[in-house]
Symmetry: C2
Subunit: 348 residues, 2 copies
DNA sequence: CCCGAAAGTTGAAACGTCTCAATAGACTCT
DNA sequence: AGAGTCTATTGAGACGTTTCAACTTTCGGG
């Protein structure tokens, strides 16, 4: 045990361990308590000592170890984020918004993507628990939010992302998806469409369920039997699935005159599929998406869609969560509801 | 100090602290050492004891605290990731790939986006250091990689993402961007274009620099003076900046006959800008992008572009990093180079 | 010159885990 | 029965912080 074998292997790499608070203390001729104070309560330590210690910190390249601090304090300035699909620009913007608000408050984010799979979500939640994140921002896949409420009650504040809470029991930042669905459907109805298809993903996800509900409510308001919503369910809300759905869409008889997609990626795929089969948009079939992603205006035809503001959603959710973290006994769970906006272009 | 004021406030929330290894030990009538063993070296503990302990763990809902473990072990199964722009689907896919490989190995990712800003990057690196991540996957903004090499040498393995290392001193996963530039330029030259514009972002970023180098090498190979690369620099590689660049693009005299963009988002913006001004693509100006994002095939006109495989980049980089983490004294820094692919569509 | 208060500093305990040397028990062999 | 081997278990110390009560020093006032 006299000679250390580890220092021999690997040459110079991984040589000296990072300096800790006690190395600083030693070098500055002071106790660890004092060093810790200059970190956390600088005002209690004498100016001269403080300056000396700060100088030493710089020289040694000292950086405090947050995970040691977390162990002591029970908070580590990390928030977990789970989105439905990190490769979708909508969620990318949401994450960017979260990161922004997190950075502003000195927090850091741990990111997960569930790919809309409940199993992956469950595993991710386990990981989040293992790492004891301070708070959680999540676009849930699982139908019931019991587990999330449990996590919240156990001391890890949860804020729902783009998903309203059952009876508002958890704070949430949402866009009014029912209204979005209504807007799209009313627009189509106003243009005389009576047989409308709705292409969506798993209905476990509240956002898609709400959009559908909005669409249906409009069409059901009229009594006539011929107004009907044809529903096509796909596995994931991406362009590939959209293209695959076209087959099923066209085989319906009578064929829908308009297609409403639960998001723009899906609409993109549908558009590709339709075009490949020689079906013209909007002459033969009208098409409406949801999200108004960057590219949507430049498709051919330009996509009519419902605009949201994902960056703001992420940012507000982040701020809401951080507010709860900062002041644990904050009033009632807050719900933030943004309004969607119909953007009419050429496709419908 | 006899009565605890904290337990009063907030009602039931945040009540009992999470059970630790010692709670399990107490409940199972065994020492903490033994409990720790069933976690890390199950084979050394007697079957009966082990089962009993496992049962207790389940009952108590015990989950080990990884950040305490990190403190002891110096490794916490967290890897940091920094991309250039999380809202760009290219990087979204990269992150998805990283997450995939991380999950497979029981790691978790901490995500940052630099927005191509060197200051943000520097701040993010500080945060990463504070949190003592085990390894780092980064698409660097800063020109020189000294700081990264330093981090690597100090014991936090670094793998470069979509960025080749100076003289191959750091492991990297890259696509051959020079080749991509060559392919695009040769294609244009083959179609008779002689005055080509290249729209790009900050040239600190190696990928863009390489793409430009490839383009230039092709055009310079011919001696004729009239072959020239017109360069337009923008602040960020997104659609908005692309649209803004069009103004400058068209004011050049003589006007370029073809425009090459450093990525598809930029091309999207350029396309929008050109269309708005009544310039037809490809009749008046040819346009080529880079990345082949999902939507690129569906633009009007469909975008000719260079295809990459971001998911694979992310995944391979993740695997490479985790291999280094698992076996610290791994041979030489490895470079992984993917080949790009020209996808010819209508825009050029 | 002594007292008390104010200002600075200290040392130890605690957070939850891992590891290692030490111990205890059971079994085998002579 | 004693010595020697295994197998299971234990307890203490360490990882890098924070915090708090206790201590020392300084200083003003009586």
């Amino acid at each position: 045990m006299a000679s250390d074998p580890k220092s021999a292997r690997g040459g110079r790499a991984r040589s000296r361990r990072e300096p800790g608070i006690s190395d600083v203390a030693a070098a500055a001729g002071v106790s660890v308590g004092t060093v810790s104070h200059v970190l956390n309560r600088p005002e209690v330590v004498a100016l001269r000592t403080r300056e000396r210690i700060e100088r030493v910190m710089l020289e040694l390249g000292f950086v405090p170890d947050l995970s040691a601090r977390r162990l002591r304090l029970g908070m580590g300035r990390v928030i977990g984020v789970q989105v439905l699909d990190i490769a979708n620009p909508f969620w990318g913007e949401v994450v960017r918004g979260v990161e922004e608000s997190a950075r502003a408050a000195g927090y850091v984010i741990m990111v997960f993507s569930s790919s809309e799979s409940a199993e992956i979500e469950a595993r991710n939640l386990d990981l989040l628990r293992l790492h004891r994140v301070d708070g959680l921002l999540i676009a849930p896949v699982a139908t019931d939010e019991r587990r999330l409420r449990e996590i919240d009650a156990r001391g890890t504040p949860v804020v729902l992302l783009d998903h309203r809470s059952e009876r508002g029991r958890l704070p949430a930042v949402t866009v009014d998806d029912v209204l979005g669905g209504v807007m799209a459907a009313e627009y189509l109805r106003g243009r005389g469409h009576e047989r409308i298809a709705f292409v969506t993903g798993p209905l476990d996800i509240a956002a898609y369920r709400d959009r559908r509900a909005g669409v249906r409510s409009v069409l059901r308001r009229r009594q006539r039997q011929c107004e009907e919503v044809v529903e096509v369910r796909v596995a994931g809300l991406n362009a590939r699935e959209g293209a695959a759905a076209v087959q099923r869409l066209l085989s319906r008889d009578p064929r829908p005159t308009a297609v409403l997609c639960a998001n723009d990626l899906l609409a993109l795929g549908v558009l590709r599929g339709l075009t490949e089969r020689g079906v013209r948009v909007p002459e033969d079939v009208s098409l409406i998406g949801y999200d108004d992603l960057d590219f949507s205006a430049m498709l051919s035809p330009a996509l009519t869609t419902i605009r949201q503001h994902p960056f703001r959603i992420g940012q507000s959710a982040g701020e809401l969560l951080i507010a709860r973290l900062t002041d644990p006994d904050l009033s009632a769970p807050r719900q933030l509801l943004f309004e969607p906006e119909l953007v009419v272009r050429a496709s419908a």
